[in-house]
Each structure stands twice: as C-alpha cells, then as structure tokens.
Symmetry: C2
C-alpha cells in the first residue's frame, strides 16, 4: 500500500468515525491530506471503493492488535480483558466510535460492498471471541457469548460517547465480569 493511500485511508477513517459514511466528501479528504480531490479519485475511483478500503484497514488493524487468541490462552493471559481494552483504547486514543460500529448502524444505507466489508468485521470479531469462549468451556453457548460481548462493547462505546463520559464505558463493560 502506497504512502498516500494510507494517508487517505487514515483521514477517511477519522471522518467516518466522527459522523458516519455520509458525513464527509472527497474534497474533505483531499484537503486533509494536502492534495486535490481528483488525486483521491486516482487512488480510490469511487467513494464505495474508499469505504471498503477503510473498513478493511480498520478490521485488520483492530484484529491484529488483539493477537492470536490461542496464543494468548497458552500464555496464561485473559483474552477478554485484552479485548475490552482494545475497545477502550479506540475510545480513549482516538476519542471516537468504533468505525464498524458506526457503519454497522448505518448498514441499510451503505453501498453493498461497504456493507459486505462491515459484516466481515463483525464475523471476524465473533470468530475471535468464539475461540476464546470455547476454550473457557462453554461449548454450546460460545458463539452466543461472543455476540453478546461484541454487542455490549459496541453499545458501550455509543453510550459513553453520547454521555461524553469515559467512565460509562467501564461501568457497562463490567457486565462481562458478572455474567
């Protein structure tokens, strides 16, 4: 991936996470990275292409930050703690929603290929969590637990953001310690 491509994707990530897929234009992106909008179109022909690239970039970044669940378990670490921390970091460092949480909430209005890529974020996260819960012994409900954890944290980010109180995230996430 060229340097400019990554710059564009990062600018777009920030803008989607601030106000959603329809909240920014190619000109906004161009200004942010110091080129003209036609140059952005050179790298990403359509807005949907850019949307797909951003969702894919974010998904890979997020999942690789988690590490391999099997490895974490072998190392005696608590993968759920790490998972919760990853969401909180997104909220703390970037002071923003989860990219795929926003895209997910808007999914019925997205171009189909952006919607498809958004779905992949959810599927890969559920896979990751399912492996963890399987290792904890809940054979039958591992996938349900995975979906609960993901949903709770997406919701926690929204509520925390709406109430502009970072402590809300911790209070909500604490449910995972008592379930």
């Amino acid at each position: 991936m060229g340097n400019k491509e990554e710059e564009i994707i990062k600018a777009a990530e920030s803008m989607v996470r601030e106000g959603g897929y329809n909240s920014f234009s190619f000109r906004d992106i161009a200004t942010a990275v110091g080129v003209k909008s036609s140059s952005v179109h050179y790298h990403f022909p359509t807005k949907a292409d850019l949307g797909v690239a951003v969702a894919e970039y974010y998904t890979n970044k997020f999942l690789s930050s988690l590490g391999d669940p099997g490895q974490l378990i072998n190392d005696g670490k608590d993968p759920i703690k790490i998972y919760v921390r990853a969401f909180k970091d997104a909220l703390l460092n970037d002071k923003r929603m989860c990219l795929c949480g926003i895209l997910g909430s808007e999914i019925d209005g997205l171009p189909s290929k952006v919607a498809a890529q958004t779905r992949i974020f959810f599927e890969r996260n559920i896979e990751w969590l399912t492996i963890v819960y399987l290792s904890k012994g809940s054979k039958k409900y591992a996938k349900s637990k995975a979906m609960q954890t993901l949903s709770l944290l997406e919701g926690a980010m929204i509520t925390s953001n709406v109430l502009t109180d970072i402590n809300v995230f911790d209070k909500v996430a604490d449910l995972l310690n008592h379930a």
Copy 2:
C-alpha cells in the same frame, strides 16, 4: 402537531433509521410525503430543526410505549422483559435500527441541537431503567445496570442488523437473564 408535520417526521424517522442523519435530503422527504421541498422547509426551517423533531418524537413514542415503571412493578409485571420487547419490536416491525442508536453513533458529526436531543433519549432511558433496578434492590449499581442494559440492546440491534439475523438479537439480549 399538524398532520403534515407528523407525516414528515415519520418519513424522516424511517430514513434516519435506514442510513443515518446525512443519508437523506429534504427532497427525499418531500417526495415521500407528496409535497415540494420548500413545503418541508415551511414546517421545519432547517434540517437540524427536523432532526430535533424526529429525535424528540421517537423518544416520546418509545418511552410512552414502555409505560410507567412504577406502575408495571405494582402490577407484578417484569419491566425488563417489556423493555427488551420494545427494542425487539422496533427491529421486527420496522426492520430498522433504533433511531437514537444511529444518531448516537454519529453524534460527533451532528448539529449540536440534534446531538442534545439524542442525549435526552439516552438519559430518559437510563432514568427509566434505573427506577426498575432500584426496585429490584440494587441500590448502588442501579444506574450502572441501566447503562449496561441500554448499551447491550443498542449493540444487539446493530449486530442483529449487520448479520441480518433476528435471532442474534434474542441471543444477545439473553445476557440480561444471566447477569
């Protein structure tokens, strides 16, 4: 509220819930209710005005559908069951996200008065749930539990919508029965 105003608000509600605040235009609304866009501006001078009205309308509709929590408790009903059911109804009947879940995820990109009205939805829902959890005896954690329940259900709607599987909602909401 005039009849046309309500028609406009309902059309806008549907469109926001499909793709967010920036996914529709005054012309879209006008076409949907059979008038010209200038007529929509007559009722709601700016888009932010319409956004506020929609968020307020949705909040009142949702909370009055729940009923009074004290009354429900007195009647020996389970308010949490009713609360979960209200979210599921929104998903089932309208086949759409929670309006304020979408607006909440986009909140940093919304006009400030729309953001403020969105915040009110969250606050009023937390108040409602806090009354319920206080009655169940958890004095210290009632508000935290309220925020957990609201967040879980908002997340459940997103995940269920993204995976286009209504059963996901039930599986996620089931966490409330084991916490």
